[in-house]
């Protein structure tokens, strides 16, 4: 395990440093800290008395991250190891073994392993799944190819559309027809099913090959025919994987339901093999631990559920990241925050309100044009609602025909990687720009395990950005850095707006390798005044695994006007979904008494096409008890909830139009683990301790430069107007930014209780670098997170403490300082 690093035991008392003057310590806003496992009653108890460790494991493209937690003491251990692409299960087993050894624990101490994987996404993108066929209603085998008859780009006539997972010669029709209300128009002809079965046999389906999606028109309204087709095919074609659309995604809209069902069955065999190997590896290691899988919607599920519905795991990694942000926010009293995860290839943002990440059922995989909405296959499974854009450290910068700088979505990936990796990459990337601007240390990338080559970075920027635009290399790098910030901010804001929310004044929760480098720039554009960089930012997602409850989402379509609704039907649907949920969760070791349900309806005004998801209020649920249904009361309560939600979303009351329901949902969840967040515990070595007086809040602005703890400073590019930091000897002024000799400190040397440090300062740790601009300050809160606050939160009276980029962005071409007010000159 070359890339391991560890945390260690958490301090028993978070309020350390007694006697130290604490200039700016954030009060703990959350409730009193709890130990791991408080909320896990019904999980830990049922499983060996001695076992008290939980592990979260995230397998990414490059790294496998692991977080181990001792529920008894609250100690946490991190590990990071290279992914073993040939057999990821092997990497999982060795990661667990290694981290247990570090923690001086044995495999028998481990009671739960929670796992997330990109296997499903990768299989779909690389088209590595099973040979897959579709069985559908007579007349509709092409519906999945005709799709929505839509070009996702209005002007590009050379665009490609996503290929269906089942080619046309493997799409078959059976004689049957349901109506929208679930009544039978044409009974199922079993002869036509048998004919399909023999076609499939001839095509080689059976034994160890082949998958079939059964998606019949209006199967969501009446699944009888789908079930009958499925039963017959299972009998006729043993070994073939079969998925029924009403089980995978029981929602109206045949195209989306079909693509989802196809995607599910396409990866099923692959997922089964993978899960078996992991389970085998676990038991071979002698661990009694049970395995839970992270779902895209932020819950966990058993291996059996994951085998049946692998598509539900499609976004499990990013979902865990958002979940970690939400958990951290709940812990520290920040129930509203923007989770900002910037890695090598993409950035993901998720707006969390009320301590809970939002969930959507609109998701696309395998986008033909990466990140372009509409260019992928729609997948209707619940997923944490986040936006992902092609802006990461490896994103390539170029100059377009308008002489504008564009960044991404093309990425240099890990191979060849950014130019500065020195592996043959010649295209300039965001990482190259960040390196030239001084944000990254060429000698301390990944903790010094990898050297970055500034010369190569400069050459790439010179050739592809600086020269075409007549800029200096530094100006060009500055522009690349700023453009990518702007793109991420625009995407985050759009994400929020589409959900009727506002990003301004919401703290930014930054993680991922590049997140803490760019967070301040993004925060400024969004109007955020606070940035939180959690301890273990580089393995942030794994924390999410450990705070996810066992959970599963159910949906049934019942399309009806509320004023003409058969409320007995609704009560029946909800009760059925609850029963299924309770069974699923008790199979996952949750005590039946601990199962909680959330009930939702997707409602809209008659005539509208977009639904509003409304939580069914207690009043309505009482009125929908199957024993004594009170339709009038249920309707009234649901209408009130709809009106309230609509107003909140669109700032306007709904017009007086009848309301209709489209889908009914039940989410069944086990207890949410109540956790204390991992915090750094390694004692700070004497002599490297930061002392107030070296870098401290009380210092006059000019006195701090050049006197870093070990005298470590380097020139770093900061926005012009940072003013006070510029001094003779700096590289001087360029358009829109200045070089400032900036202290560089190791994160391990920062500790809770040390007075806030004024920016500019660069904080380095193994997997990331945190950038604190002039006018912002940074302190360490008891959770171990770095908290960076804008100048407005600090003592006033210093110039240039706010609005540190955009207002002074000015043109190198203009030669001298001009304000945007004079941009026409």
């Amino acid at each position: 395990m070359d890339h391991r690093y560890t945390g260690g035991m958490r301090q028993p008392d978070p309020f350390d440093t007694p006697g130290q003057p604490v200039a700016k310590r954030r009060p703990i806003r959350g409730a009193s800290k709890k130990k791991w496992g408080d909320g896990m009653a019904g999980v830990g108890k049922t499983h060996g008395l001695e076992a008290h460790w939980r592990a979260g494991i995230d397998i990414g493209g490059t790294f496998t991250d692991i977080l181990l937690l001792d529920e008894r003491t609250g100690a946490s251990w991190f590990g990071k190891t290279l992914t073993t692409p040939d057999d990821p299960a092997r990497g999982v087993a060795s990661a667990i073994a290694q981290v247990l050894q570090d923690a001086n624990a044995s495999t028998t101490d481990l009671h739960t392993v929670i796992h997330g994987t990109t296997l499903v996404t990768n299989a779909l993108i690389e088209r590595k799944g099973d040979r897959t066929a579709l069985v559908t209603t007579r007349g509709f085998r092409d519906a999945v190819e005709i799709a929505r008859e839509h070009r996702y780009d209005m002007y590009d006539l050379n665009l490609d559309l996503p290929r269906p997972l089942a080619p046309r010669h493997l799409r078959f029709e059976v004689d049957e027809r349901m109506r929208a209300d679930g009544s039978v128009h044409t009974p199922l002809d079993m002869g036509s099913v048998e004919a399909v079965a023999s076609h499939l046999r001839e095509a080689g389906f059976g034994g160890n090959t082949g998958a079939v999606a059964v998606c019949l028109l209006h199967g969501y309204a009446n699944p009888d025919h789908e079930r009958a087709v499925g039963d017959r095919l299972r009998t006729s074609l043993p070994g073939v994987r079969i998925a029924l659309s009403h089980e995978v995604a029981g929602e109206i809209r045949e195209y989306e339901r079909t693509t989802t069902t196809l995607a599910n069955v396409y990866v099923q065999r692959l997922m089964e093999g993978y899960l078996d190997r992991i389970r085998d590896a676990l038991s071979a290691s002698g661990s009694p631990a049970r395995l839970l899988l992270m779902l895209s919607a932020g819950g966990t599920a058993t291996v059996d559920t994951a085998r049946r519905f692998p598509i539900r795991l499609v976004e499990s990694g990013p979902a865990a990241g958002a979940l970690a942000a939400a958990a951290h926010g709940r812990e520290t009293g920040r129930t509203n925050l923007l989770s900002f995860d910037m890695g090598g290839t993409t950035a993901k943002a998720c707006l969390i309100t009320g301590g809970v990440p939002p969930v959507t059922t609109e998701f696309e995989v395998d986008r033909v044009y990466r990140f372009k909405a509409g260019s992928g296959l729609p997948v209707r499974v619940p997923s944490i609602d986040l936006i992902e854009i092609g802006a990461g450290g490896g994103s390539i910068a170029r100059v377009d025909r308008f002489g504008l700088i564009k960044v991404g979505p093309e990425s240099a990936g890990a191979d060849p990687g950014p130019a500065c990796y020195g592996r043959g990459g010649t295209h300039p990337t965001v990482t190259d720009a960040d390196l030239i601007l001084g944000y990254l240390d060429p000698a301390f990338f990944l903790g010094g395990t990898m050297r970055l080559d500034v010369k190569d970075a400069r050459e790439a920027i010179r050739m592809h950005v600086a020269e075409p635009l007549g800029l200096t290399i530094e100006d060009a790098s500055w522009a690349v850095h700023s453009v990518v910030n702007e793109a991420m901010a625009a995407a985050s804001r759009m994400h929020a707006v589409e959900r009727g929310k506002d990003t301004s004044a919401v703290p930014l929760f930054a993680f991922g390798g590049a997140g803490p480098v760019h967070a301040a720039g993004v925060a400024r554009i969004l109007g955020s005044r606070e940035i939180v960089v959690p301890y273990g930012a580089g393995v942030g997602s794994t924390i999410g695994f450990l705070v996810a409850p066992v959970s599963f989402d159910f949906v049934r379509s019942y399309y009806t006007r509320l004023d003409a609704c058969d409320w007995h039907t609704v009560a029946g649907l909800l009760a059925t979904m609850e029963t299924e949920g309770r069974n699923l969760l008790t199979d996952a070791w949750v005590n039946p008494g601990d199962v909680k349900f959330a009930h939702r309806a997707e409602l809209r005004l008659v005539g509208q096409a977009h639904q509003v998801t409304v939580d069914l209020p207690r009043e309505a649920l009482d009125a929908l008890n199957p024993g004594h249904v009170d339709g009038a009361r249920a309707r009234e309560a649901i209408q009130d909830s709809f009106d309230y939600t609509y107003r909140a979303l669109y700032r306007r009351s709904a017009p007086p139009v009848a309301i209709e329901a489209v889908n009914w949902r039940v989410v069944a969840s086990g207890p949410v683990p109540v956790v204390a967040l991992p915090t750094p515990v390694a004692p700070v070595p004497m002599g490297e301790t930061l002392q107030s007086g070296v870098i401290g809040v009380d210092q006059s602005p000019r006195s701090q430069w050049g006197r870093g703890p070990a005298g470590v400073v380097r020139p770093v590019a900061w926005p012009d107007g940072s003013g006070h930091g510029a001094k003779p000897g700096n590289h001087g002024r360029r358009g829109g930014w200045v070089w400032i000799d900036t202290p560089v400190v190791k994160r391990a040397n920062l500790r809770t209780g040390v007075p806030a440090i004024l920016g500019p300062v660069i904080i380095e740790e193994r997997e990331s670098t945190t950038v604190v601009p002039p006018g912002w300050s940074v302190s360490v809160e008891t959770s171990g997170a770095l908290v960076i606050e804008s100048g407005e939160a600090l003592a006033s009276g210093r110039d240039g403490t706010s609005g540190w980029v955009g207002r002074d962005a000015r043109g190198p071409a203009s030669g001298e300082a001009t304000s945007p007010r004079n941009v026409t000159s």
Partner: protein, 600 residues
């Protein structure tokens, strides 16, 4: 001159602003064509009326005609007469996008005068959200003496109904096509124009939906305006005019550069479409009135002129096109071929000029009927592409089905079922419109896309949604084998759609808007033509002896007799290049998947 970085930042922000505006409209709109099919547009203009950004959505017929509409609003309501909280509206086909169903709403955006707030630190944004729709008076909104007009936001959306005949090409004059709303106030200083709303409600079949959409449009303009004001405040910009000038100048230059790369010359092309054929009297064949669309493109240096001289005169039914719409689809076709990545704004329009003879079907005058103007207007990209193919063949696609096959159904929904929205009694009036698309023409290096809208930008509606909303059954939606024109690069396939009534005791009223049933999409450079479209009614259960299919006119409203179903065969796209030059592996794959039955 704004430096590239600042410009990129500002420009992206403007585009994000109009995208937010469009998203807000899609989520709150009632008309299914807006919310389900995406038939809408949203954009921002500077105070001079120059369009500077459009949302990345919508459909070309809206966007480009909206760029032209703003000057009419300014003529009718000069800026000095506008006050905060005003919202303007019209559906004047000649001033906006060509038929009554498209309503345009324009909102002027103001902010407090600089002088009145200079002393009080940073100016507070005046959120237009505080104004429209509430009962606040201007004084209460905190405006100073003379607020500055900083921008206009505009949206167009296709409403569910506009009175007159149900949506069809049947009218012989404009007055039959519904309610005409000249440019007027939808809100005056934040107060709704109740007289107008009462007139609208009294005239349309779905008043809640139409009035709901008017409100949704005003709200979406507010959302855009609020975001723009935040942007101006954040960067302390007094005006967007310098930014507009920069955006327009760069787009104009890029468009001129693109035109410059087209060899100078004059390129002529003409196409014949089915047009409107008068149904024959009983026992007589239809009286054909085919339509010729002729264009002459003149490229001189960095300017391009399109003239439609030689085009047929106005038609007797509602398929006539106003000049705004002619300009919209012509410039769209040119931009796709020459400069797909140049943003659409005032600047990209400037180097291109369009003329059409007054009184021709492409420059019709009131009271010519216009409801189905898309049938002809959506052919214009194919017409200009045909001319441009002579100059830049590698940038131009072959002809496809061109116009959308729009289907409009209405009648009485007698389904008793509560699950399908019935009230348990039956007899609910229903109106359902949806769009269908045939194949696109082959691309210079790729096959054409099957069953994909071009040039329109709208979507199809799922069969399950159609059937849940209307007493219809869609019995088949399948690709038409062999309908893609053969070629080195094959044309896209059309599809067959079979629709019948299910749960209607009365008549099913059906208005089709179909073309290419007589003239197939031609191939290019040795490529073959795409499959011809077809439309007929046939017996669901053949009687003995079977009745021959009925062939109603493809553009005339018909009542579908009981026991019959509608069959629509949508046309395919033309191919490019000799079919014998096609990669043999692709021929084998086409055979295996049944896109063709035999190699050409």
């Amino acid at each position: 001159m704004i430096d590239p970085l600042t410009l990129e930042v500002f420009w992206s922000r403007l585009i994000a602003t109009v995208n937010e505006q469009a998203t807000s409209l899609m989520r709150t709109a009632f008309s299914p064509t807006v919310a389900e099919a995406g038939d809408l547009s949203a954009c921002v203009f500077d105070p001079r009326g120059y369009m500077i950004a459009q949302a990345v959505t919508g459909t070309p017929g809206h966007i480009n005609s909206m760029a032209r509409c703003i000057r009419h609003f300014l003529d009718a309501c000069p800026p000095e007469t506008l006050v905060p909280g005003d919202v303007l509206v019209t559906n004047d086909p000649w001033k906006t996008s060509g038929h009554f169903h498209d309503i345009t709403v324009v909102t002027p955006i103001f902010r407090a005068s600089r002088s009145s707030t200079e002393s009080s630190g940073p100016r507070a944004s005046i959120s237009p959200l505080q104004g429209v729709g509430d009962t606040l008076q201007p004084g209460e909104m905190g405006w100073g003496e003379a607020p500055d007009l900083v921008a206009f936001f505009g949206t167009i959306c296709h409403v569910a109904d506009i009175g007159g005949r149900p949506f069809s090409t049947d009218a012989r004059e404009l007055y039959e096509e519904g309610l005409f709303i000249p440019i007027t106030h939808l809100f005056r200083a934040g107060v709704p124009n109740e007289e107008l709303l009462r007139i609208v409600r009294a005239n349309v079949r779905e008043p809640d939906s139409v009035v709901g959409d008017l409100y949704a449009m005003a709200t979406s303009n507010d959302v855009g305006g609020a975001r723009l004001l935040e942007f101006l405040d954040e960067f302390d910009l007094p005006s967007i005019i310098p930014l507009a000038d920069e955006v327009i100048a760069r787009s104009e230059q890029a468009m001129r550069d693109a035109i410059q790369r087209v060899p100078d010359g004059t390129y002529r092309h003409s196409l014949t479409m089915d047009g409107y054929a008068e149904p024959g009297r009983p026992g007589e064949p239809d009286r054909e009135v085919p339509i010729t669309l002729a264009c002459t493109i003149t490229v001189t240096g960095d300017t391009l002129h399109v003239d439609f001289d030689g085009t047929s005169p106005v038609a007797p039914r509602g398929i006539n096109v106003v000049m705004n719409y002619t300009e919209a689809y012509s410039t769209y076709g040119i931009k796709c071929a020459l400069a797909p990545d140049v943003p659409n704004n005032e600047g990209s329009f400037r180097p291109v000029t369009i003329t059409a003879p007054v009184g021709s079907i492409l420059n019709c005058q009131p009271p010519a009927p216009v409801a189905g103007r898309h049938i002809v207007g959506q052919w214009l990209p194919a017409v200009v592409h045909g001319a441009l193919a002579q100059a830049i063949p590698d940038q131009v696609i072959a002809d496809g089905s061109s116009s959308l096959w729009i289907t409009q159904f209405s009648g009485s929904d007698d389904r008793q079922s509560l699950a399908t929205g019935g009230d348990g009694v039956g007899g609910r009036r229903f109106s359902m419109v949806f769009f269908n698309s045939g194949g696109m023409g082959a691309r210079p290096t790729k096959d054409g896309l099957s069953s994909t809208a071009f040039p329109s930008g709208v979507r199809g509606v799922p069969a399950e949604i159609v059937e849940a909303r209307a007493p219809l059954l869609i019995m088949e939606r399948s690709l038409r084998t062999g309908s893609g024109g053969a070629g080195t690069h094959r044309g896209g396939l059309g599809h067959r759609l079979v629709i019948r009534a299910d749960g209607i005791t009365g008549d099913l009223r059906f208005s089709p808007f179909f073309d290419r049933t007589r003239v197939a999409a031609p191939g290019r450079d040795g490529g073959h033509a795409g499959g011809l479209g077809d439309y007929f009614l046939r017996e669901i259960v053949p009687s003995d002896p079977p009745l021959p299919p009925l062939r109603p006119h493809p553009k005339a409203t018909t009542y579908v007799p009981q026991g019959m179903e509608i069959v629509m065969d949508l046309p395919g796209g033309g191919g490019i290049g000799d079919p014998r030059g096609r990669d043999p592996e692709r021929v084998v794959a086409d055979l295996r998947d049944g896109y063709i039955t035999q190699p050409e």
